[in-house]
């Protein structure tokens, strides 16, 4: 049971890749990429977890309190917002592809000409 979170992270990574490989729609591909990316969040937070640990904020708790690892949390928190804007950039690309080629199916985008 304790390895469950690791398995969830691995599952999210692989299912996101499967979505990317089989995608028939660029919006679906972008979402699949976001799923793959979120697997890293689960993995990082799992590594930082500690039984009985609370949030690593020492507002009114003594420094000896058991807390979870703050380093991985800092890694995740910056990436959540940055990942959202990168997803927006990719969706903007999908809109442009639709305007230029009239399709968002990657398989129908054969040539590189604009």
């Amino acid at each position: 049971m304790s390895s469950f979170a690791y398995l969830v992270a691995g599952w999210l990574f692989v299912i996101g890749l499967y979505g990317l490989v089989t995608s028939r729609n660029l919006v679906h591909a972008v979402t699949s990429l976001a799923v793959t990316q979120s697997s890293t969040y689960v993995l990082l937070l799992t590594i930082g977890f500690q039984w009985g640990g609370t949030a690593p904020v020492f507002g009114d708790t003594p420094i000896t309190t058991t807390v979870v690892d703050p380093v991985v949390q800092a890694l995740v928190l910056t990436d959540v917002v940055v990942g959202a804007t990168v997803t927006a950039l990719l969706l903007a690309l999908a809109i442009q592809v639709d305007k230029r080629h009239g399709t968002v199916d990657p398989d129908e985008l054969r040539s590189l000409e604009s």
Binding site: Q50, V57, A74, V81, T85, L89, L91, K99, G102
Partner: protein, 247 residues
């Protein structure tokens, strides 16, 4: 045929990847273990040396501040890229303004307008208290941007446009990005290292504690807030205002 071959290739390489992931997992430390060497050092550095109650904020903006500068500029450039990609082209014409829109329930309108000031307040609170309680510029910026879009949910698009002038948000976005850089340079000049935390530590757990951390939070909060508002404005414009093009 190609799809089938691709799927077979994925099945083979996916099986290999799963094997590698599971092998790597077997070498990882046990789940929920007691010992976190990096975490312990980060906590000691944040609370004892730097006087920051929120250790995550200390790691993000003080101990690993340079790394966050990189993240901040990924955010800046991806917003910039999306804005450039979504510029209306010459062939696209503006749809008539005040076109009929979907009906909004009175209750939705009421709740949205009640929540708007409350959400703005929470956003400012989360940005300002990033050094002492969970939160900070990244989270608060998103809450602030959400607050403004309650105008769209509970009212109409024209109101949202009136309250989000592009020129103003362009400036806020740039000032946020530049502010982080300027604070870094201030550390270089006053302390000898880029992003060095040169300001006084203040009283532990107070709003003004932790030196430059709250200021960096404000810079990031401005950038995230303006970035998301600008992005959503462009997507709204594509969907609601433009017609025509190559289609």
């Amino acid at each position: 045929m190609i799809r089938r071959a691709r799927l077979l290739l994925f099945a083979a390489s996916g099986a290999g990847l799963v094997t590698l992931i599971v092998t790597a997992y077997l070498g990882l430390p046990a789940f929920g273990r007691i010992s976190h060497p990096y975490g312990a050092r980060a906590i000691s550095a944040a609370v004892v040396d730097k006087g920051t109650a929120n250790v995550v904020a200390s790691v993000t903006f003080d101990q690993r501040g340079f790394d966050t500068l990189g993240e901040e500029f990924i955010l800046f450039t991806s917003v910039l890229g999306a804005l450039l990609l979504l510029r209306p082209s010459a062939e696209e014409t503006k749809r008539a303004r005040n076109a009929p829109q979907g009906r909004v329930l009175d209750s939705t309108r009421l709740v949205a307008h009640l929540l708007l000031p409350l959400t703005l307040l929470i956003g400012v609170y989360v940005v300002a208290h990033g050094n002492v309680t969970p939160g900070g510029g990244f989270q608060g910026g998103v809450i602030l941007a959400t607050a403004l879009h309650l105008l769209y949910l509970g009212g109409d698009y024209a109101t949202l446009r009136r309250f989000t002038p592009r020129a103003v948000f362009d400036v806020v976005e740039s000032v946020g990005a530049a502010g982080y850089l300027v604070l870094g340079l201030a550390g270089l000049i006053a302390g000898g290292a880029f992003l060095d935390n040169v300001l006084p530590r203040g009283t532990f757990g107070q709003l003004t504690s932790a030196g430059t951390v709250p200021l960096l939070n404000v810079a990031v909060g401005m950038e995230v807030f303006a970035g998301i508002v600008l992005l959503l404005a462009r997507f709204f414009e594509q969907d609601l205002e433009l017609r025509g093009g190559d289609r």
